[in-house]
Symmetry: C2
Subunit: 278 residues, 2 copies
């Protein structure tokens, strides 16, 4: 996932290596920023309206407004994709509170708005065939319903994630699981799909997958304790960048029989069809 | 507190309006950054060794290393102060994980290191004479022992702070108070000074003030419940930018008799003497 040659910054498409963010940007000095990631499918952004809705919602929770219409953003993304020439891409939109000369106050009317594209993030095929692992940490994201740029706990746990051969870290708090650092988390119990519903970011792909599950499975949203998660028949994560990934181990606990189960296998297939044949 | 003409960025002093942070800086994209603020007293940085120690400690908690010696940093600060010509200044040091082309991985060997100076933050004299207010929020900072750039909860609560005529927001969690968003928090009960000791940033000025208190007061570090805080005889906050500020109201609760009490009055005087006559 390498950065591309051109990016969009505050109304203009510029060369990425000439794009300058002010050292007084409140997104840098105070972490006051939101973002969203969109995947392309067959060259075009997938679920862009849903991602834009979430991006605007995240911005609103910080008192910010995305300074462009959906149509304008779609045009910029099309232009960036054409100029940067990815086969497929991950599109990143970032909105900060803008420049803050005192490192504290900012004018919500002059936010910093960035759109950049990356080559696709490489997901090992083995994750889909044999399942992936999660480690767990007790943590609750600040303002979890917003996709803010605060990934302190995730980045600090990167070495532990790598050491465990895990794909991500699953957060739990007060005995209940919420989400992975970069993905939504779900379990399957007796063929019922269960989704944590509080203290989580609304998942774009996750929501699609739950809809695909509802065709012939019960889907229940509600609290899931960590011990329920560990005792699940199957588990999976979803993210725009990775689609549906089966989870077969959480810390040292084997989920189900440790192989990719039938419900997750079916949901992976349905999700791929929805993305690539939809 | 306006930004000055020159700043230091990665080894060089440059014009602030020409200084460029990469849009791929992980401090911007993932909030992965720490900072520290130092106040000048009579033109020179006050408690610089203590601030540098804290800054290095914060950096270490994120797996980062400040890429300069104390002597080099002191020289840069002296140079910036001379060029920017403040009467007195607030010095801001910022360290991020550096440029991350994929918005995820960064090389801790190439961090982004910034030093900037601001004119002094204006603190109304009335706060010292009549005391200030705090509002409260249930919140626990992520990695509270590090001074990270994550101030989401503070900035989101700015309108509420302003509306209440408050100076800051006091955080409590699980029934216990910790610190204000931008200051340490202490109470006085029966002339004993009490300091929360867990889940708080080590205060540079706070530590100095506790030492000044120990001369003739008992000082106890330990958990302080919110109800103990509200029932205190006196309360105060400390920060490099503001020194000792008496707190006479927390939300709708009057602290003590609502005026600046004798212990805080004495500590304010001692702190000023230590800063300006020390």
């Amino acid at each position: 996932m390498l950065a591309a040659r051109f990016i969009y910054l505050n109304g203009q498409i510029v060369l990425a290596d000439q794009a300058a963010i002010s050292p007084f940007d409140v997104g840098l000095l105070r972490g006051y920023a939101v973002f969203d990631l969109v995947q392309t499918v067959k060259g075009g952004p997938f679920l862009l309206p849903e991602h834009l809705e979430r991006f605007r919602s995240s911005a609103g929770m910080l008192g910010l407004t995305v300074p462009a219409t959906d149509e304008e953003i779609a045009t910029v993304i099309g232009d960036l994709l054409a100029r940067n020439g990815h086969a497929e891409a991950t599109i990143r939109m970032v909105l900060t509170g803008g420049v803050s000369p005192d490192g504290m106050c900012y004018d919500p009317k002059t936010p910093t708005f960035l759109i950049m594209t990356h080559d696709l993030f490489d997901v090992p095929e083995e994750y889909y065939r044999r399942g992936a692992r999660l480690i767990t940490r007790e943590h609750r994201r600040e303002l979890p319903e917003a996709k803010t740029t605060n990934y302190l706990t995730w980045l600090r746990n990167h070495p532990a994630i790598d050491e465990a051969g895990a794909i991500d870290v699953l957060y739990h708090f007060g005995g209940y699981v919420s989400e992975a650092a970069t993905a939504s988390f779900y379990i399957v119990r007796n063929r019922t799909v269960m989704a944590p519903d509080e203290g989580v970011l609304w998942g774009t792909i996750g929501s699609l997958v739950l809809d695909l599950a509802r065709v012939d499975h019960e889907v229940i949203s509600g609290p899931i304790s960590l011990s329920e998660a560990l005792a699940a028949n199957e588990a999976f994560i979803t993210s725009s960048v990775r689609g549906v990934v089966p989870i077969v181990r959480i810390d040292e606990h084997v989920i189900g029989d440790g192989t990719v189960g039938p419900v997750v296998t079916e949901l992976m297939a349905r999700c791929r069809r929805a993305m690539y044949e939809g």
